[in-house]
Symmetry: C2
Subunit: 258 residues, 2 copies
Amino acid sequence: MAASKLPATRMIAKGPVAVPIMRYELFYWPSIQGRGEFIRLALEESGVDYVDMARESGRGRGVHAMMTLMDDMPHPPFAPPYLRAGRLVIGQTANILQYLGPRLGLVPKAERARLWAHQLQLTIADLVAAIHDTHHPIAAALYYRQQKPEAKRRSRYFIAERAPKFLGYFERAVAAGRGHLVGRRLSYVDLSMFQIVAGLRYAFPNMMARLEPRHPHLVALHNRVAQRPNTAAYLASPRRLPFNEDGIFRRYPELEGR
Amino acid sequence: MAASKLPATRMIAKGPVAVPIMRYELFYWPSIQGRGEFIRLALEESGVDYVDMARESGRGRGVHAMMTLMDDMPHPPFAPPYLRAGRLVIGQTANILQYLGPRLGLVPKAERARLWAHQLQLTIADLVAAIHDTHHPIAAALYYRQQKPEAKRRSRYFIAERAPKFLGYFERAVAAGRGHLVGRRLSYVDLSMFQIVAGLRYAFPNMMARLEPRHPHLVALHNRVAQRPNTAAYLASPRRLPFNEDGIFRRYPELEGR
C-alpha cells in the first residue's frame, strides 16, 4: 500500500464514532534495503497505510526532500530512517519499531513483553552494525575497495566468532519462545529476524550453509515469516528492493575466503 | 547507596498508604566504567537505592554470579549490563535507561519527549560503538596491540569526520533545548552526554581541545552535570571507577597521532 493517494490522516467510521486512521510516512534511502527494511517489513506485514517517501516523487517526496526535512525539524534524526506519524517524527530504527509495534499489533501489550522485544531488537541492531562493519571496518566514508584488507580480517573474526555467538543466542530465544521471539504470536522482532537470516544467506552463503543445520528454529522462523500472505506478497513485489552491494548485506566472495 | 543491606523491596509509609520502594540491582563488569556507567550515573543522580552487584561479594553477587544468572534466566541478555528490578530483568543499556527514566524522575512524562530521549540515547549508543571501535576495529576478541595499525587508521577517520559529526549534532540539540537535551529539566540523556564529553576528553584530549570551543553548549552541559550535588558526590567517591585502558574510552596517544 505504498502508493496511496490519501491525505496523511483520514477518518473511518468504526461503530458509533469516527476513528482517525494514520498514514505513516517512512523516510529512507530509495535504492537499498538497509536499516529501513526492518521498518518496511513491519508496515507491509501489518497491511497498514504507508508511503515510502524517498521512493516517490512529488511535493515533500524524494531524497532531496528527505534530507531537507531532516535539517529543518526541531528534533532531527541523526540519519535515516525516520518515520512521520501525524505530527510526530521519530528516528532510530529500533525506536521506530517500538513505537509502531503496539499500533500495528506486532507486539504484546504487557510491559514485560515489550521490554523483551525491544531488548532483542537492540541486540539485532548490534548484529546489523557488526555485519555492516565486515565490509566497512575503517570508515563509512570510504569505499569498500579502500578498506579491503581490513574487511577481510574483520570478516574472518565475524564468521568464526561473532556470527555464531549472535545466531546461537537468537536460536535459543526462538526455541525458548516455541517458535516466536516474543509472546505467542508474530512480532516485529520475528520480522527483523527473518531479514537477518535472509541477509546473511545473501552475504555469507558458505557460512550460513555451515551454521543453518545448528540453528533449526531460526531457519523455521525465517520460512514461516516468508510464507505469511502479506509478507510473501511484499517479497514478490517491486516494493522489495533486491539485496545489493550498497546496503548492509553485501556479497563479496573474498570476505568468505572464496 | 551501593552497599545497602536492605531486602530487594521494602515498604515505606508515604501519607496514608505504604509505597513499595524498589531496590535496583545493576549487573556489570566491576573494573570498568564501560556501558554500565551510563546506568550508574542515572542511579546515582537520582539517589535511588541500588546495588552494583558484580562489585559486591556474597550470595548472588560478584562476576561469577552475574554470568551464571545470565545463563539461567528465561529472557537472557546478550551481554552485561543488565538490571534486575523486582521480578523483571532488563538488558541493553538504552532499554534499561528508558525503563528507569520515568521511575527515577529523569525524563518527562509525555510520549513525544520520551521518544526523543530514547532516540538521542540510541544515537549516543552509536557514538559509543564508534568510540569502542577506534581501538578495536577488527575484533573485540583480539587485544588492542593485535589490531594497532587498523586502529590508527580508523581513529584518523573518527577524529576527522565521525566525532565532529556526532558532536555537532548533539551541540545543536542542546542549543535548541536551551541547555538540556530533553524537556526543561535534567534527563538521563544529559547524564549520558556528560559521560561522552568526559570520556572523549580522556581518550582524545587533543581532539577535544580543538573541538570544544566550537561546542560551547555541550561543554556547559558537561560542567553543570558534574556540579550537581549527587553526581558530584558520586564522581568524588570510590564508586566512580577511573577511566582505564580496559573500557570504552582508552587513552592511547598513538591513536591521536601523538
